[in-house]
C-alpha cells in the first residue's frame, strides 16, 4: 500500500456521515446505572485481574520481558518494562482494574521504584485471599496483622534482610544504583555500560548534595539531557546547568568572562511579540493601529532597561522576537530562548533570579540573578552553554547517550528512578537485599511468627488458629511468588532453610552441574554449598526462624533494593489488596 498520511477527502466524507446537525435535538432516556455485586466473583473481572498479573509479572526483574506500547494507528512505539511507563498506558474498561492501577501509580510517583513489586504482590494477595476460602473480612484483618509483622521486623535493628548504607564509601550506593539500572532490560546495556551509568548516577547524586551550607539544607537537582546516537560510555556528568544554545557562535567568550559574576534576567512571559497571553475572544482594534508594532516597541523599551542594568545573559522560557534578539546580541548580551518549563525552576535555583512574568512593568533590581561564569560545550551535534552558580553548586547535568531512541528513552527513565532512589537514602540510610532474598526472608519470618502466635492475639484478631495459618500461608505464598517472578526462562526458584535467601536453578543446567551452577543467592551475600538444604518456593517446607547472616565485611551484597521504596510498596500492596477485597458493589453510570 502507498502511504497516505493526509487525505482530506476521506476525512471530509466521514465528517458528513457522522456529523450531527446542531439544529436538531432530541431527548434520550437515561439508562439506569449498572451495579456489579461482589466484583471478585465476576468472571470477567477475574480474568482481567489474572491477565494484568501475568502482564506485569513477565516484566519483572533484570531478565523480564519487554512490552511494546503503541496505538493502533501507527503512532510512536515505546518498548519498556518499567511500571512508570507501562501502567499509565494501561486503561481498562473495568474500574476495578483502574482502582488498583491508580493506587500503584501513586506509589510510583512518590518513590519511583518497586512499582511492579507492589502490583504483583497486590494481585497475588487478592488471588490468594480468594483461593483460601476465608471470608474477606477475616482475610483483610489477617493481612493487616501480617503486614504489621513485616513492617515491625523491617524496622528492627537486627533485621536479617536490611543493610545499613555507609556514606563513607560509594560502594553500596553504586550497588543500589546498578540494581535499578540493570533491572531495566530495555536499556540493552552491557555489564560495563551498566556500571558506568551507575557510577555516573551516584556521582550526579553526590553533586546535588550541598556540603558547606549552614542552616537548612536544600538538595539540588540533576537535570538529564539525552543525546541519541552516541555510545553509552560517552555519557557524562557536568557540574552546573547545560542549556541548549544552538546559536552561540557570536559570543565573544573572553569579553564576557571578564565581568564576573554575570547578571542574568529570566523571563517566563513570552517575548514573541504576540498577544497570546490575553486569551481568546474578539478584539476590537482601530484601523491604523498596529498592535504588533506597539508590542514590539514595549519589548524594545524593556530590553533597553535590561541593557542599561548591565545584564549579560538574557533567558526566556518561551520565544523571543527576532528583532529583540538582534538588538540584544548587538549589545553583547547572550540570548537563550525557548528554555522550556522543566528547566525554569532549576535555573531560578541556580541563578537566584525571579522569573519576570509580565512585560508591562519595569524590572525590579531584585529580580536579577547571577551566574559565576559560563562556557561553551560541544557534545556531538549539540552546542550547549554551561552555567555555573555564583556560590556552591548543587546542580548538575547528566548527558545520557544511547544508540537509539527506544533504548535511550528507557535509560532516561531508569536514570531518573535511580536518582530519586538515591535521594531517598538520605531519609532512611539503609537498603534491602535484592534478588528476591528480602521476599523469601520475610515470608519465612512471617510463617515462623504466625505459628507461634499466642491466643491473646488470636482473640484480638477475632479468628481461629487455623484461619490464621490459612491467611499467613496465602500471604507468604504471595511474597514468594514475587521472588519467583524474577525467573523468566523456566528455571526453578528455591529458598535455603537456614537464612531463607532466594536461589534459582536455571532450567538448562544438567543435574550433574547443579552444584556448580548454584553459585550465589539472589543478592549475592551467600555462596552455595552442597550441605545447604533448600526447598522449592510455594511448597510445604517446614517453618523455621530465618537466621541473620553473620556479617562478613569482605562479602558485599551484589543486588540491593531501596528500603524506603520497598517498605512503602509493601504497605501499598497490602492496603490496596485489602481495599479491593472490601469492595462489595461496583456502581457504574453507563450514560
Amino acid at each position: 500500500m502507498v502511504k497516505k498520511r493526509h487525505n482530506p477527502g476521506v476525512e471530509f466524507q466521514k465528517q458528513e456521515q457522522t456529523g450531527i446537525s446542531p439544529v436538531m435535538s432530541r431527548l434520550v432516556q437515561k439508562s439506569p446505572s449498572l451495579c456489579t455485586d461482589l466484583p471478585l466473583d465476576n468472571s470477567d473481572i477475574c480474568t482481567k485481574l489474572y491477565l494484568l498479573r501475568q502482564l506485569l509479572k513477565s516484566c519483572f526483574g533484570p531478565t523480564g520481558r519487554l512490552k511494546q506500547v503503541h496505538n493502533n494507528i501507527g503512532g510512536h512505539v515505546i518498548t519498556t518494562s518499567s511500571s512508570s511507563v507501562l501502567l499509565p498506558a494501561i486503561s481498562s474498561s473495568q474500574s476495578f482494574i483502574n482502582l488498583i492501577k491508580t493506587s500503584i501509580l501513586n506509589h510510583v510517583s512518590r518513590f519511583s521504584d518497586c512499582g511492579l513489586f507492589a502490583a504483583i504482590l497486590c494481585l497475588s494477595l487478592i488471588e490468594q485471599a480468594k483461593q483460601s476460602g476465608l471470608s474477606f473480612s477475616v482475610a483483610i484483618k489477617l493481612n493487616k496483622h501480617l503486614l504489621g509483622l513485616c513492617t515491625g521486623y523491617l524496622q528492627q535493628e537486627d533485621c536479617g534482610c536490611k543493610v545499613k548504607l555507609d556514606f563513607c564509601s560509594s560502594h553500596n550506593l553504586i550497588t543500589l544504583a546498578r540494581s535499578i539500572i540493570s533491572s531495566k532490560p530495555a536499556c540493552v546495556l552491557t555489564e560495563s555500560e551498566a556500571l558506568h551509568i551507575s557510577k555516573l548516577a551516584v556521582h550526579a547524586f553526590l553533586l546535588t548534595v550541598p556540603c558547606n551550607r549552614p542552616g537548612e539544607v536544600r538538595l539540588g537537582k540533576a537535570v538529564t539531557v539525552s543525546v541519541e546516537g552516541h555510545p553509552v560510555l560517552n555519557s557524562a556528568v557536568f557540574p552546573g546547568l547545560l542549556v541548549d544554545a544552538p546559536d552561540v557562535s557570536g559570543i565573544d567568550e573572553s569579553e564576557n568572562m571578564r565581568s564576573n559574576p554575570l547578571r542574568v534576567v529570566l523571563f517566563s512571559a513570552s517575548l514573541a511579540g504576540d498577544l497570546s497571553e490575553l486569551g481568546d475572544g474578539i478584539f476590537d482594534v482601530h484601523p491604523g493601529v498596529d498592535t504588533d508594532l506597539q508590542i514590539l516597541d514595549r519589548l524594545l523599551e524593556l530590553v533597553k532597561q535590561v541593557v542599561e542594568d548591565e545584564v549579560k545573559l538574557f533567558v526566556c522560557q518561551k520565544v523571543i522576537h527576532p528583532v529583540v534578539q538582534q538588538h540584544l546580541k548587538s549589545r553583547g548580551v547572550i540570548v537563550i530562548e525557548r528554555l522550556g518549563n522543566p528547566l525554569m525552576e532549576t535555573l531560578t535555583q541556580l541563578t537566584g533570579a525571579q522569573p519576570v512574568a509580565t512585560l508591562h512593568t519595569t524590572i525590579p533590581a531584585k529580580a536579577y540573578g547571577e551566574v559565576r561564569d559560563l562556557s561553551i560545550i560541544h557534545f556531538g551535534s549539540r552546542t550547549m552553554l554551561q552555567l555555573h552558580p555564583p556560590g556552591e553548586s548543587s546542580i548538575c547535568t547528566m548527558i545520557l547517550c544511547h544508540r537509539n531512541e527506544t533504548m535511550l528513552g528507557e535509560l532516561k527513565v531508569a536514570f531518573q528512578k535511580t536518582e530519586h532512589v538515591l535521594r531517598l537514602t538520605l531519609r532512611e540510610p539503609s537498603a534491602l537485599l535484592g534478588g528476591g532474598c528480602t521476599e523469601t526472608h520475610l515470608a519465612a519470618y512471617v510463617r515462623h511468627k504466625s505459628i507461634q502466635e499466642v491466643p491473646e492475639t488470636l482473640s484480638a484478631l477475632g479468628c481461629s488458629q487455623a484461619e490464621l495459618l490459612l491467611g499467613a500461608g496465602g500471604f507468604c505464598r504471595s511474597l514468594e511468588s514475587v521472588a519467583a517472578a524474577l525467573e523468566h526462562d523456566g528455571g526453578n526458584s528455591l529458598m535455603d532453610l537456614t537464612h531463607a535467601h532466594h536461589w534459582t536453578h536455571p532450567a538448562d543446567v544438567m543435574r550433574e552441574h547443579l552444584d556448580e551452577s548454584l553459585g550465589f543467592c539472589g543478592c549475592g551475600l551467600m555462596e552455595g554449598s552442597p550441605e545447604q538444604r533448600r526447598a522449592y518456593l510455594n511448597t510445604n517446607y517446614p517453618q523455621f526462624s530465618p537466621a541473620p547472616l553473620s556479617r562478613d565485611t569482605a562479602v558485599q551484597p551484589r543486588v540491593l533494593d531501596s528500603f524506603a521504596a520497598k517498605f512503602n510498596a509493601l504497605q501499598v500492596a497490602v492496603e490496596t489488596a485489602n481495599l479491593a477485597l472490601d469492595v462489595r458493589y461496583l456502581v457504574q453510570d453507563i450514560n
Binding site: 500500500m1 511494546q68 548587538s330
Partner: protein, 642 residues
C-alpha cells in the same frame, strides 16, 4: 486497552515479523539495486523505491515491530545516509538465528549474552582489519581515478565459484612468492563487492614509511562507489571543488556534506548532471533575466531567515484569531497594509544597495516582481546551511524580517551566474542560477538531471549515499575492506570463538567461572555459529545480486573460501584473502587496483543497530495497543481486552 500476547515461546511472532520485513529488502543489497514499484490497490497510486529506506518510507507499517524498524532505519539514514539495507538484512538474518535458538530451547538471557559477545567479536575484527585512508594514496591520483572509472562497470562474467577454486590451487606457489617479496603484513583485498576483475595492489603501499599524508580522495571514493560510479564521480568533483576553495584543506582530508546541496533538473538528459560552485536554485524566467543583468558583478546580499512577505511572522508567534476593526469612518485601505510593507522593504533594499536577497522560506509573488523591476534578484527556498555558509563568507547577518535589515546585516562579494552559461549550453532558456561567493564559502551544488522525472529521487539518493560514505570515510580516516571480506573475517572469527568457548566450558574452567558468579554459557557456540550463518547469508545475497550467480553457487563459493582460510590460517597473517588472484597469473605491480571498500563507522553502526533491534524484539513478549474501544473487533488474532 488491548493486550496481545505474541509469544508462544518457540514461535516468536515478533521475530518472524522482523524477518519477513527484512525479506523485502533483499534485492536492494549490493551494487546492482533493483527498483521496486509499490502500488496502492485502493487509490491506484504507485511509488518507485530504489533503496531500503525509500521502500520502508512508502509502506504503511502499523504493527509495533514495523514501527520500530522504521524508526531505527530512519535514525541510521539520518546520520549515515547509507547502509540501511545492510542493517535491515542483518536484523532479519539474526532474528532468524534467534528464532532458531528459541526453537532449540535456548533461554532468552543466554541468547542475548552470546549475541552481544558475538557483536564484540565482529567489531573487534573491524578494528583490526581496517585500512587507513592515507595508505591508499600511493599511486598518482589522476591515473587512479581514471582507471577506476574505466573499470567501473567491468562486471565479472566468470563463474565465481570456479574462479575461487582455481585460485586456491594456485595459492601455494603464490604464497611462497609473496613471502619472499614482502614479509610484512600487507593489506590487500580481493573478491570485490562488485566482482570486478581485481588485481593485487602494489606491494609497496604498506611498506612505505608511516609519514602523515593526505588521503587520495579519488581513490578512496572509487572504492566506496559501490556501483554508483556516476554519482560518485559527482561527489569526487564536489570534494575537489570544496577543497580547492578551502586554503586550510588543500589536501582534501575532509568533505563537508553540510555545504553540499542538490538541485534536480527534470527533462534534461543525464549527461547534463554536473557539480557547480555555490548554490544552484531554480528561478522564473523573469528572475533569470535579472540574473543575466547582474552576472559578473560583485553583489551586495541580504539573507532572510524565513519568508519574505508581509504576513509572515516568526516561529512561535501566535496570531490573534479574531480581530475586528472598529472605526467611525469607512476605510478602503484593505490592501494598503501589504502595499505599505512592500514599499518599505523596497526602499530599505534600495537604500542599502542590495542586489540579491536570499530567502530560506518563500517570497510573495508581488515582492519578487517588484524586486525584478528594480533589478534585485530574490532567491527562494535556500537551505539553512546555505544561508549560514553565505553569512560566514560575506559577513552578512541573517535576519527574520526584511525590516530588520541595516548596513551591518548586508554582506558583499557574491556573484550570480546562469546555469546554462556555466554548463556551456545555450540551447534551452535556463531557469537555474548559481549564487556563489567564489573562493570563500565552500558551497557546492550537484545538479542532477534526468529525462525520467521519477528517477530523480533515486539519483538524488544515490548522490547523497555516495557523499555521506565519502564524508564518513574521510572523517574516520579508515576504511574496511569491502566486497564481503570484512564479513568473512567476522564469520571466521565467530566460528573460531564458538569453538574455543565451547571447549573451555567443558573443561575445568567452568568451575572458576561459576565462582566468579558468571556461569559458562553452554549455548555460546550454537548462537555464535548461527550469527555467523547470518553473515554468510549476507555475503551470498550480495553475490547473487551482483553477479547473477545462483544462491547455492554463491554459498558454496563463500564456504570454500572460508575453508581455505581456516586451513591455511597458520601461514596467514590476521589479514586474509590477500595474495589471491582471479586468474592466478602474477600481475605486475604497475596495474593499479580498483579496490572496494566499506565505511567503518557506517558498517559498525548498522550492525549494532541491527542487533539492538533483534534484542529488543526478542525480549518483547507482548504488544499493548492503547486507545481501542470495547466494541473493537476482539476476534482479531489473539488479542485480549483488559
Amino acid at each position: 486497552m488491548l493486550a496481545c500476547t505474541i509469544v508462544n515461546h518457540r514461535q516468536h511472532v515478533g521475530l518472524q515479523k522482523l524477518s519477513a520485513l527484512a525479506g523485502i529488502t533483499h534485492s536492494s543489497l549490493g551494487p546492482n539495486k533493483m527498483y521496486k514499484f509499490i502500488r496502492d490497490e485502493t487509490s491506484g497510486e504507485s511509488a518507485l523505491a530504489c533503496s531500503c529506506f525509500r521502500l520502508l518510507e512508502n509502506l504503511e507499517l502499523t504493527c509495533g515491530v514495523g514501527q520500530l524498524v522504521y524508526e531505527t532505519v530512519r535514525a541510521h539514514q539520518k546520520v549515515y545516509g547509507a547502509g540501511s539495507g545492510c542493517l535491515l538484512f542483518l536484523a532479519g538474518a539474526w532474528s532468524r538465528a534467534a528464532t532458531e535458538c528459541l526453537q532449540k530451547g535456548v533461554p532468552v538471557a543466554r541468547i542475548i549474552s552470546a549475541m552481544s559477545e558475538g557483536m564484540d567479536v565482529c567489531l573487534d575484527v573491524c578494528r583490526k582489519c581496517s585500512v587507513s585512508t592515507e595508505s591508499l594514496g600511493a599511486a598518482p591520483a589522476e591515473s587512479c581515478a581514471a582507471t577506476s572509472q574505466g573499470l567501473g562497470l567491468n562486471l565479472l562474467k566468470k563463474n565465481t565459484a570456479e574462479a575461487s577454486q582455481a585460485s586456491c590451487h594456485l595459492r601455494g606457489t603464490r604464497q611462497a612468492a609473496d613471502k619472499t617479496l614482502n614479509a610484512s603484513g600487507r593489506r590487500k583485498i580481493k573478491l570485490s563487492r562488485h566482482f570486478y576483475e581485481t588485481e593485487a595492489e602494489d606491494a609497496s603501499t604498506a611498506t612505505q614509511p608511516p609519514r602523515r599524508k593526505a588521503p587520495d580522495v579519488a581513490l578512496v571514493a572509487a572504492g566506496l562507489s559501490h556501483g554508483y560510479v556516476g554519482a560518485m564521480n559527482l561527489v569526487i568533483e564536489a570534494s575537489r571543488l570544496q577543497s580547492k576553495n578551502n586554503p586550510q584543506d588543500v589536501s582534501g582530508s575532509t568533505f563537508d556534506v553540510s555545504k553540499v546541496a542538490t538541485c534536480v533538473l527534470p527533462g534534461l538528459p543525464e549527461e547534463n548532471s554536473c557539480v557547480l560552485q555555490g548554490c544552484v536554485v531554480h528561478v522564473s524566467d523573469e528572475q533569470a533575466s535579472v540574473a543575466h543583468h547582474l552576472k559578473e558583478q560583485h553583489l551586495k546580499v541580504a539573507l532572510i531567515n524565513g519568508d519574505l512577505s508581509d504576513t509572515y511572522r516568526h516561529l512561535g508567534f501566535k496570531r490573534l484569531q479574531a480581530v475586528q476593526c472598529v472605526s467611525d469612518r469607512v476605510h478602503f485601505l484593505s490592501s494598503s497594509k501589504a502595499e505599505e510593507w512592500t514599499e518599505k522593504v523596497l526602499t530599505l533594499l534600495l537604500n542599502l544597495e542590495v542586489n540579491l536577497v536570499v530567502v530560506s522560506g518563500i517570497a510573495s509573488e508581488k515582492v519578487i516582481q517588484r524586486c525584478c523591476r528594480l533589478h534585485i534578484l530574490v532567491v527562494e527556498k535556500a537551505n539553512v546551511s546555505v544561508l549560514k555558509a553565505l553569512a560566514d563568507a560575506t559577513g552578512a547577518v541573517p535576519v527574520t524580517y526584511a525590516t530588520q535589515l541595516s548596513n551591518r546585516c548586508v554582506g558583499a562579494g557574491v556573484k550570480v551566474a546562469i546555469w546554462g552559461d556555466l554548463a556551456g549550453r545555450q540551447t534551452k532558456p535556463s531557469t537555474a542560477v548559481s549564487v556563489s561567493t567564489g573562493e570563500r564559502d565552500g558551497l557546492v551544488t550537484a545538479v542532477l538531471a534526468s529525462c525520467v522525472p521519477s528517477k530523480l529521487q533515486a539519483l538524488e539518493d544515490q548522490f547523497w549515499a555516495c557523499a555521506y560514505r565519502l564524508h564518513h570515510a574521510l572523517t574516520d580516516a579508515v576504511l574496511l575492506p569491502g566486497a564481503g571480506v570484512t564479513e568473512m573475517l567476522c564469520v571466521h572469527h565467530l566460528r573460531e570463538r564458538a569453538e574455543r568457548r565451547h571447549d573451555a566450558g567443558r573443561s575445568g574452567g567452568g568451575v572458576q567461572q561459576t565462582k566468579a558468579g558468571r556461569a559458562a554459557n553452554p549455548y555460546r557456540g550454537l548462537v555464535m555459529n548461527l550469527m555467523a550463518e547470518g553473515l554468510v547469508d549476507y555475503i551470498s545475497t550480495v553475490m547473487v545480486n551482483a553477479g547473477g550467480v545462483s544462491k547455492v553457487r554463491a554459498r558454496t563459493a563463500v564456504s570454500q573460501r572460508l575453508k581455505n582460510h581456516a586451513e591455511n590460517q597458520a601461514k596467514f597473517s590476521q589479514l586474509s584473502f590477500a595474495g589471491e588472484q582471479e586468474d592466478g597469473s602474477l600481475r605486475c605491480s604497475d596495474a593499479p587496483a580498483a579496490q572496494v571498500y566499506d565505511g567503518m563507522s557506517v558498517k559498525q553502526e548498522a550492525w549494532r543497530r541491527a542487533l539492538d533491534l533483534v534484542l529488543l524484539v526478542l525480549q518483547t513478549d507482548a504488544e499493548i495497543i492503547t486507545g481501542v474501544g470495547p466494541n473493537h473487533d476482539a476476534a482479531e488474532g489473539d488479542m485480549m481486552l483488559l
